[in-house]
Amino acid sequence: MALVAGTTACAGIALLVRADGRLALARTRRLARTETVRIGAAVLRRELTHVLPLEDVRGAGGDTVRLRLFRGLAVACAASGADGVPVAFVGDRQPDPSKDSVLPLAPAGAPALALAASSRVPLTAAALAALDRGAGTPCAGLPADSGRGEVLVWQLAKPVTRGTPLLLFQHGTYAVSERAIRLRYGNEGRQPLTGEWLDSRRSRLEVLSLAAGPDAARVDVRLYFPANAAERRLRLPFGNARSSPPGDSPP
């Protein structure tokens, strides 16, 4: 009797442990899938918010998209001088002249400029005020918009006028390859952004409807998880492709 009871109990425990393992594995896979989708959506959505499809998409394949990746915004505090142009800069990292370029937003359609040099200058309040060569608030107030900004001096290929907004960007390629979503900066190697859970052959990352006009363009991501035999789709619009907020632009 004891043997039967013990055997039954052991068998039950073994089944329970096995079921527990399978449950844990399923939960882990599900969590991995959720994390992959979450990271992919968050990262790509954040990148695409500031992208103007016809200007900033530099190339696309079935599983890759090459973009301008915006890493900061600066405003010229004064007109360009012999020493460069002082800018109030806010970004998610320091500018790097070896890989970054600058896109002036005024006048409209201005070409991107190479960033030849970027230096921090320990400017005093008086020196900052001196940069304000006209009437108005000095450059010192600009970084306060975020509390994280700082004043830098940039060397640009062409002069810019005071108040010109400047976007700092570098080129990068997002891809679904080698079982993960990966990002490649310039000519560097591809770095994984997610765990290696994907079936690269059945997953896609492509720009759709670019030819149909900037408002129709979007990035379509299909992520196939072989472990779950599940597919997740993300349709990510380009933030600057939305039709004409806040109003029509006059010709």
Partner: protein, 385 residues
């Protein structure tokens, strides 16, 4: 010797069968332990999933809220506030915005260069914070000035015997307006567009002045061909004007300022603002008025920017303060008084016309229809961190 079967020890005798309950107890404890571990592992995984989902939800709500603050700021845009900012000057929204989803946000507007503005919205939702930025621009009043090189500009102009056209005091506020209503830089704006702050009385290809009419200006008359404005008003084509106009008028109008409950009733028929009563709630209302066809103004008073695609007839004692652009012909009766400037294909003027850059610039700068924020080029959202 006889062997007797029985318990081999006193404990065994006292607790017969005690080995089996030990095994069952052990198995039960093990089972409960495994169950507890299973439940704990499941709960741990579920909790982790919950934390991830909540963080994701907060981040999404914060981002949406930040974008909403930008859109709200743009929707509540007051061009006069924005234009009052100095270069690189900043204005912060006085009150935080409470947004759906228990989010809270704030926004600021910074003037960059000229008519370019950076709107920054920030928001907090749960544990997440986010910021969003957008570039907008407003139309410069000076972009409309080339349509008005003189007090009266037309291809053919005829001044009747009762006509009085003068430019004296054009840079000062009209008698009914507060002295501060004028842009102190009005001379600079005129000089920037026309190369000189001088005010010609009439600019026309063909001018006929009846005996008794009075005309002054610097110079009083410039005779040159004036091609008609057929495409629209300044940078705005007709279709755009029709969409942006604060008021669209057709047929016959009697201009009457209307207030209700201490506020200007902007949608009331014929309410073109109150140019003659500085204390009226409509004193600061200078609408963009568009007539897609012919328009007759039977009398009354109004102010703003009047654009007529057909023919304009000013009758009775009609008084208007602001620039008037007519694609067709304009006809002003003897009792009519107009402050500002007129542009038409042909003009038959018998009333009083006070050419005034002060009035023109104030109306162009204050008309809500001309003050809306626009995309600065193709790019609207810009990264702020």
């Amino acid at each position: 010797m006889t062997l007797k079967r029985g318990p081999s020890c006193p404990e065994a005798r006292a607790h017969p069968g005690s080995g089996r309950p030990g095994i069952v107890l052990f198995a039960t404890v093990l089972l409960v332990t495994v169950l507890a571990v299973t439940l704990a592992a499941g709960a741990c995984l579920a909790l982790r999933g919950l934390v991830v989902a909540r963080a994701r939800s907060d981040a999404l709500r914060a981002r949406m809220a930040a974008e909403s603050t930008v859109r709200t700021t743009v929707a509540l845009w007051r061009a006069s506030d924005a234009r009052a900012l100095p270069a690189l000057g900043r204005r912060t929204l006085p009150d935080p915005l409470r947004l759906p989803g228990d989010a809270q946000g704030g926004a600021s507007v910074r003037r960059l260069g000229g008519d370019l503005f950076l709107v920054i919205g920030s928001a907090r939702a749960g544990v997440a914070r986010a910021r969003a930025g957008a570039l907008v621009r407003v139309l410069s009043p000076t972009s409309f000035l080339p349509s008005f090189p003189g007090g009266l500009t037309a291809d053919r102009a005829r001044l009747g015997p009762s006509a009085a056209l003068g430019t004296a005091g054009g840079y000062a506020a009209p008698p009914a307006w507060p002295p501060t209503a004028c842009d102190p830089a009005a001379r600079d704006s005129i000089a920037l567009v026309f190369g000189s702050a001088a005010l010609p009385g009439i600019v026309a290809g063909d001018v006929a002045i009846a005996t008794g009419a009075t005309l002054d200006g610097d110079p009083p008359e410039v005779e040159r061909a004036v091609p008609p404005d057929t495409a629209g008003f300044g940078p705005l084509p007709w279709a755009q004007l029709a969409r942006w106009a604060d008021r669209v008028e057709t047929g016959t109008v009697f201009a009457t300022p209307t207030a209700a409950g201490g506020a200007c009733a902007r949608t009331a028929p014929g309410n073109w603002g109150a140019p003659l009563d500085p204390d009226s709630p409509c004193a600061d209302y200078l609408p963009l008025i568009f007539a897609p066809g012919d328009l007759r103004v039977l009398g009354g008073s109004g102010q703003g920017v009047l654009v007529v695609r057909g023919r304009l007839s000013l009758e009775g004692d009609a008084r208007f303060y602001g620039p008037v652009l007519v694609a067709g012909d304009i006809d002003a009766a003897e009792g009519v008084e107009l402050w500002g400037a007129v542009r038409a294909r042909t003009a038959d003027w018998r009333g009083a016309l006070h050419a005034s850059p002060c009035v023109v610039l104030r109306a162009l700068g204050a008309a809500p229809g001309l003050s809306r924020p626009l995309r600065a080029g193709a790019r609207f959202w810009v990264p702020v961190f």
